[in-house]
C-alpha cells in the first residue's frame, strides 16, 4: 500500500539522505535558532525552551531540511541509532465515558465504533505476532476513564498469560489511575505506562471537558514515582496554535517522560473534530524536529495519523528528522502501514531495531 502524504509533490524535501551521510546542520544556515540549537541541544544536551521552540515552528519551508538534519543529529548523538518498535492493542474498545473530542471511542459521540472486549487468547496471539516482527514493546490499551476491579483483574490475567507465552515488554494504557492501581501495575511487572497530555494546558479545555489537565498530570507523576517508565504523548493538528504546540512540547519536556508518542489528528466520523482539516505535512515534520529539539534524550515515537498526514515519504523524513521509535502495524481502531513497510524502511536506512531489555 503506497500512501500519499499531505505534502505537495514539488514541496517534498530530499529523501536521499541516509544517517551516515548527514552533513552538519545549523552551521551557516542563516537561521539563528538552528545555530543556537546546535550548540545548546546537540553539543550540550539541553532542550530548547518554549520561546525557542516557537522560533523553530515558525521557520520557513526552506529551512526544513536543515531543521530535520539537526534533529536527526541530536537523536543519533543522544539516543543512538536504534529504533524501538512497539505494537498496540485495544483490550476494551468504545463506550468510554470521557469526551476527548478527537476520539471515536467516546460513548458520548455518535461514532460508528461499537463497544467490544478482546479475549485473552486473542491478546496473547497478538503479542506473539507483534514480537515476531522484532518489536520489544506491547501496549495494552483500554477506552476507560480509569480501570475498575474487573479490568484490573483482566490485565493481571493478561500479563501473566503473555509472559508465559512470549518475551516482550508489556506496557499499559488504562486511563487515570489511583495510587493503589499504580502500585499494582508496577508490582505485576508493567514496564511502561502510557498516559498522554494530548495537547497544551492552555488548549486542553477545548478538547476535553470531562477531566482536567491536572488529573492527567497526577497519574503521570504517580507512574514515575512508582518506578515505571512514563510514556506521555501528544496529539497535534487539533486546531491548536503554533504557540500552543511549542507550549505542549515544553510541558512534556518538563515532565521528562521516557517516551513521547507523537500523534497527528486523523479526524474521526462522529467526533467533534471530524471536520478538522488534516494537518499540513511540512508543519508535521517541523513539529517532529521541534519535539526532538525540546527532548534530546526521549524516545520519540511515530504514532497515529502519520499515514494520513505524512504518507510514505514523510514517514521516511521523520525517521531522518528526530523520530527513533515506531508503532508497527495497526492502531486501536484504524489501520497503519503494513508492518513490513516500516521494517523494510528501517533496514534501508541502516537503523537497527532496539533489542529487548527487560527493565523491571
Amino acid at each position: 500500500m503506497t500512501i500519499q502524504a499531505n505534502i505537495a509533490e514539488s514541496d517534498k524535501t530530499s529523501d536521499e539522505t541516509t544517517p551516515a551521510a548527514v552533513p552538519a546542520a545549523g552551521t551557516g544556515t542563516g537561521y539563528g535558532i538552528l545555530e543556537t540549537a546546535r550548540r545548546q541541544v546537540l553539543e550540550d544536551g539541553i532542550g530548547l525552551t518554549q520561546a525557542q521552540l516557537e522560533e523553530v515552528l515558525r521557520l520557513p519551508d526552506e529551512a526544513l531540511p536543515a531543521t530535520l538534519q539537526l534533529a536527526h543529529e541530536v537523536r543519533l548523538k543522544h539516543c543512538g541509532e536504534d529504533v524501538e518498535v512497539e505494537g498496540i492493542i485495544s483490550i476494551k474498545t468504545g463506550g468510554c465515558p470521557e469526551d476527548c473530542h478527537f476520539c471515536s471511542q467516546s460513548g458520548l459521540f455518535d461514532s460508528p465504533v461499537r463497544g467490544v472486549w478482546l479475549d485473552i487468547p486473542e491478546l496473547v496471539k497478538a503479542a506473539k505476532e507483534t514480537a515476531a516482527t522484532g518489536a520489544t514493546e506491547f501496549c495494552i490499551v483500554a477506552a476507560v476513564r480509569g480501570p475498575d476491579i474487573k479490568l484490573m483483574n483482566q490485565i493481571k490475567f493478561a500479563i501473566d498469560r503473555i509472559n508465559e507465552a512470549v518475551d516482550i515488554n508489556i506496557a499499559c494504557s488504562l486511563g487515570m489511575l489511583t495510587q493503589r492501581q499504580v502500585n499494582q501495575l508496577a508490582e505485576w511487572g508493567v514496564h511502561r505506562y502510557n498516559h498522554n497530555l494530548e495537547t497544551a494546558r492552555s488548549y486542553f479545555p477545548e478538547v476535553v471537558t470531562t477531566h482536567s489537565y491536572e488529573e492527567r498530570l497526577d497519574t503521570c507523576n504517580m507512574v514515575k514515582a512508582a518506578g515505571m517508565e512514563l510514556c506521555c504523548g501528544a496529539l497535534i493538528g487539533m486546531g491548536e496554535t503554533l504557540e500552543q504546540r511549542a507550549e505542549l512540547a515544553a510541558q512534556l519536556a518538563a515532565l521528562e517522560p521516557h517516551e513521547v508518542p507523537l500523534n497527528f489528528l486523523n479526524p474521526r466520523p462522529g467526533t467533534p473534530l471530524e471536520n478538522q482539516g488534516i494537518m499540513d505535512g511540512k508543519d508535521a515534520l517541523r513539529a517532529i524536529a521541534a519535539f526532538r529539539l525540546a527532548m534530546p534524550r526521549t524516545v520519540l515515537r511515530y504514532a497515529g495519523g502519520r499515514e494520513l498526514t505524512l504518507g510514505d515519504l514523510g514517514t521516511r523524513e521523520g525517521l531522518l528528522g528526530g523520530i527513533n521509535a515506531v508503532i508497527v502495524g495497526n492502531y486501536l481502531t484504524t489501520l497503519g502501514r503494513p508492518a513490513t513497510a516500516d521494517l523494510n524502511l528501517l533496514v534501508e536506512l541502516n537503523m537497527p531495531i532496539k533489542e529487548l531489555q527487560k527493565t523491571l
Binding site: 474498545t93 461499537r114 505476532e129 502495524g329 495497526n330 489501520l335 508492518a339
Partner: protein, 85 residues
C-alpha cells in the same frame, strides 16, 4: 475480504463485492451499487476503507463489532458473520 459463517447464525456465506453491497462499509449509507465511476458520495469512503476496517455490514447496515490487532482486524455482524481481510 472473506466473510466467514458464524456457528448457529444465518449468514450469506459470501462476500459482498462493491457491485452487490447494499450499504457502504464506511458510512453505512446506501451504496452506489458499484457505479463506475464511483459516485462522489462514496469516493472518500473508499479511500478511507484502505486505512480502516468497515464499521457497517454491507448487507444489512448493522454496526459491526470490530477488533483491530497490530497485524490484522476482524468485523462481526450479528446477522451476517465475520469479515476479515
Amino acid at each position: 475480504m472473506n466473510r466467514v459463517s458464524l456457528p448457529n447464525r444465518s449468514t450469506t456465506g459470501v462476500s459482498s463485492s462493491a457491485a452487490t453491497a447494499q450499504f457502504c462499509g464506511h458510512c453505512g449509507e446506501p451504496s452506489d451499487g458499484g457505479a463506475d465511476p464511483t459516485s462522489d458520495v462514496h469516493r472518500r469512503c473508499g479511500e478511507r476503507l484502505a486505512m480502516e476496517p468497515p464499521r457497517y455490514c454491507a448487507d444489512c447496515r448493522r454496526r459491526m463489532k470490530v477488533q483491530v490487532t497490530p497485524l490484522g482486524w476482524s468485523a462481526e455482524c450479528s446477522r451476517h458473520g465475520v469479515l476479515a481481510p
